[in-house]
Symmetry: D2
Subunit: 383 residues, 4 copies
Amino acid sequence: MHELAQAPQLGIGLIGSGFMGRAHALAFRNVGGVFPLDRQPRLELLADHPEERAVAAAASLGFRRATGDWTALVRDPAVDVVAIATPNRLHAPMALAAIAAGRHVYCEKPLATTLDDAIAMTRAATAAGVVTMVGFNYLKNPLIATAREIVRSGEIGTVTGFRGIHAEGFMADPEAPFSWRCEPEEAGGALADIGSHILSLARYLLGEVESVCGRLDTIHAERPLPGGGRRAVSVDDQASMMVRFREHPFTASLSTSWLGSGRDMQLAFELTGTRGALCFTQERFNELRLYRAGAEAGRGGFTTVNAGPAHADYAAFCPAPGHQLGFNDLKTIEVRRLLDAVAGRAPSDMDFAGALAIARAIEAIRLSSAQERWVALDEIPDA
Amino acid sequence: MHELAQAPQLGIGLIGSGFMGRAHALAFRNVGGVFPLDRQPRLELLADHPEERAVAAAASLGFRRATGDWTALVRDPAVDVVAIATPNRLHAPMALAAIAAGRHVYCEKPLATTLDDAIAMTRAATAAGVVTMVGFNYLKNPLIATAREIVRSGEIGTVTGFRGIHAEGFMADPEAPFSWRCEPEEAGGALADIGSHILSLARYLLGEVESVCGRLDTIHAERPLPGGGRRAVSVDDQASMMVRFREHPFTASLSTSWLGSGRDMQLAFELTGTRGALCFTQERFNELRLYRAGAEAGRGGFTTVNAGPAHADYAAFCPAPGHQLGFNDLKTIEVRRLLDAVAGRAPSDMDFAGALAIARAIEAIRLSSAQERWVALDEIPDA
Amino acid sequence: MHELAQAPQLGIGLIGSGFMGRAHALAFRNVGGVFPLDRQPRLELLADHPEERAVAAAASLGFRRATGDWTALVRDPAVDVVAIATPNRLHAPMALAAIAAGRHVYCEKPLATTLDDAIAMTRAATAAGVVTMVGFNYLKNPLIATAREIVRSGEIGTVTGFRGIHAEGFMADPEAPFSWRCEPEEAGGALADIGSHILSLARYLLGEVESVCGRLDTIHAERPLPGGGRRAVSVDDQASMMVRFREHPFTASLSTSWLGSGRDMQLAFELTGTRGALCFTQERFNELRLYRAGAEAGRGGFTTVNAGPAHADYAAFCPAPGHQLGFNDLKTIEVRRLLDAVAGRAPSDMDFAGALAIARAIEAIRLSSAQERWVALDEIPDA
Amino acid sequence: MHELAQAPQLGIGLIGSGFMGRAHALAFRNVGGVFPLDRQPRLELLADHPEERAVAAAASLGFRRATGDWTALVRDPAVDVVAIATPNRLHAPMALAAIAAGRHVYCEKPLATTLDDAIAMTRAATAAGVVTMVGFNYLKNPLIATAREIVRSGEIGTVTGFRGIHAEGFMADPEAPFSWRCEPEEAGGALADIGSHILSLARYLLGEVESVCGRLDTIHAERPLPGGGRRAVSVDDQASMMVRFREHPFTASLSTSWLGSGRDMQLAFELTGTRGALCFTQERFNELRLYRAGAEAGRGGFTTVNAGPAHADYAAFCPAPGHQLGFNDLKTIEVRRLLDAVAGRAPSDMDFAGALAIARAIEAIRLSSAQERWVALDEIPDA
């Protein structure tokens, strides 16, 4: 009989216990069993408002302590990493306070609700030298890592085109109620809310955006308020955009919509190269469709590749191919990357600067739509 | 034993016997067995150059006579309908001559290689009162007719968005040789050659275009000549465009490419409505994916509808669902529509005026790309 | 101007003008434009009952003469080939009369309604030396020819398994009326009516059947009569069977059902080899899914191959891949094979002997089900 | 600041730390964050051989203690539940010892390597009144629960047919080495190893098996030994079977193979009813294809339903549809059911008696194959 020594630990403080807060908590619980870690996350403190809510969530998610006061959390000496999963307008003050207290920060997307805030947060993090990670979790899919590998290795030749979309249908009904997602002050609108995912994916595969030309549509000009009455909507229901990248000679065609009736998670792209192509949709995110030129006549076509241990990170979850990862597993991979960055093993692959790049592209698209012209990213302030 | 009286006939003169010429001939042979007709097409005369080629084609396709001189064909008194399946720059002179001779004209797409020609052809046809049909055959798919019916009936609510593409991969290889498709004088380039299909499909479903903002890319600046050496390419390899329609409040996102590695026929769209959605790709053109809101919880999603006798024109080919139409069957439906228009049963559903609308949209997209701005269709000359 | 000489002709006599009769007629009309032929089929004479029906069909399909008396047709000196598309119990007398008159015979499946008849027909055809073809048209798909090529060439190693089905849903409703398909005297029942297709496909790919073990189910014991009342059903609604082949060491698993709710044409198989696999369904019959072992780690999977000119017969319809063949095109290929056999270019690839092999397998499966044991094909009488 | 009281706990002892042992451990770690539990699992003790291996696994998976002696584990007073994830022949002695010590038992499939053992284990568990659960985790998929609900509610009418398969390709290569899976003493062979999954799924949906007729094939008669040389194989590479159920009038067609080249996880079925149908494959286990009769003409077909919070257990992982569960999440659901059974909230839905039913069906299929006849389940000994 062997008693295990306690592993070195890292104190986690989580602010917010809704959909994303729970996803963070599950990932922190799970990550140590999946991946080898230098320090095991300890679910130290959960903050939410009011305190009873925090206590209930802490109990169900396995945190040691709970508080109704997030400012106490960021200052708590037992907290090493602050995870922020709160309404968007709170990201900036919370992250800035956490950084000021010297904490590493894991923040849900979007980084902030204004570009100024995003810039300030990025500068603060850089100045403080803390690790940051922003929750664009779809990038953590092993098959997306594989896609990037294929693009970068030249396996399908030179990249010649990209077409992408993120559409969901949760606002398709004109009577879907006005919510925080409809508030410009909350970084509302389809472009910021979900379009940011396809922008981050395009950037992950293709590098930095150079210029954009876009158009935002507000199709449903008003929506019912939950308590009765109606309220005018100023944010976009959908957006189309043409995007050019610094390192590529082509124009990508992107779009996003939350009026996508019938769609739960159509985050999808098609990428072409001179000697092959890739197709992907998050709707079947354990599959990557790969075309490679050069098959003998009558034998070529797109191959459906199933996720398996040959693809980054998959093997840690399961040694056999085709068993599939789920949404929460992507979050576990994200936390692993965060913890590796904290341990100094590898830089964060989606830090505040990365999220700021997405925010700047969104700002450029909005400006382009308003002024009906192409906008260079250089026109948009940076950190 | 009953001898059948000969049916009234309509003399067909076909110019050109390549891919599309053969497709026309097959459709004229076949249509009388599939659909009830007032007059049976008689394969009267085939013109090609040189005459031996015409003779060989006439023999294999079943024409009565052959000629090396297309001007004789358009004047031949036994020819009632002139079908034009020749290189693009010949469409205008041939169609104008046929119209001048009072013939009905069935012309392959594109209508012409210049907007001026397209306008002149449309005016001439209108003035002469002849029937015209242009070969945008993908519109003839029974499931596309069904899609239009669904859109127009309000079956999926109000239309809120459209995303479309036509991509093929035949020029993906930078070493694919320079051909007539690379000649601006032949209406070359991906936008005119194949992008016209997705534009015609969008127009068929959504009505006339109001304004466009687009960008054309020439990715491979030169290509090898078949005889050796290389030649600069000035036409587009691909194009992205945002398109607005007169009757709709949204911006459609379209693209086209002939660099679409792995794609043989990706003519595809996704259309969303407030209470449903449609997805379609010509890659599986006997299927239409239909979403309708309102299913009970946990039972909704996209339904894959197989083409069957409930869909326009299908039943004439086969009384049982799921047996499938082929490419040549679409051409047969097109010829049926032509013959119905000649018989005065229904107007042509894709006459020269319709094809001119597509040509004007293409011109507007090119202007938009050159000037990096939105262009209203009203800026482009019309017939 | 060149007048074409009339091509040598072959007189076609068609008996029956329903679904299959029309399909035959369309194929005979079309085949000469698609394929090079020694003699062009001439739609000489159509027989149906009553004569008015024959006359109307002859007019719409383009036959020269019509008759209400099929015995006159088989004796008519201008008829070289007799095509039989009549109720199943008439196949035997018509084919035997046509053979007796020295005609080549193109007969719809099933060959006959009794094994004795099938044997007699096969013997008569052999003795007379006429060409025969039976309408198992799904075998004519270019991708099925490709599948056979892949199997025979060893491209996917040694074949190790086969699983197949033919299911349709037209009798799924217990209130679907009693029809000729429910009559044992008409070779009714799912196994004979549609199961014969998957048996013919398995035989085409794997060779002759050695032994079978099957079970037939009659799920709906009675069905409404069209005129009112109900009638007991004795034929099978579905069947399961294990099948062994002479040339292979494995047991195939086949099934068939006309209770296949939601299925229009699920004629499908999966075939495995030691170094690859094939998947196919007639529901997407322009696609063949091909797996080949040996891809580098993380890049393998099933490739979706689109039908194209690299696959047998496709190029005659269209020079470009991905344009797709339709159901009637398969019938055109079948007629081409018939005419090639008449011309002495190649033996019929599905003659009466081939159809008899299917009939014997069905007989063996019925016997197996009745006696609950494995049955060797050798137990069943042969021609 | 609120300190959470420690939740009541349940001590978990895990034997084995390979693929399945890790999966168990992850599920026990995760379940408390996902589902509300009466007692939180405490990873108390891990046993493996040799002890160093146990210590390393315990460290990486977060167990408190480790041992090289599983007999100490089953007797350890801090262990309430024994999880067994060891080679198959060890399941019986370990489970019997755990039951003898009064522990609840969570055992990987198969229950045992002989029917006698399986019967003894079932009897012992019943006599001791402990909770048991066997790891047929694919049954825990929320969409499989939905499928059962659809079947039982009559939502698609009366069930008329079932066709299923479990195929994987890991032994497709004749040179794949001899392993424990090839040992009859380890319950080797495709039927027991993976065919048990499709049998358990069929039973879950359709109830108890009445009789079977099957055939086992050993295609590759010998395989290389890892250390050199070759060894004869006596177990089956694949099996076909016809299966009848007590409560249904039809014959199901099932098959299984580990020679399924290109397949990672083809656990799939098609189920038909008089008014609808279901299709499912574990290859896309977050989708269920549902057909329901009664759509208006031209609008019907199979609907692809994405897993979402309307389906059992899904909502605990994620409140939004289409985000998808992964393989390990199914194991988490399984552990939740185990813990609920331990808490007396609901009986185990796959206890030893359930696993014994699968083992008896397998025995019957083997007997059927050996004797080439139908075998009634009543012929096989039961607990």
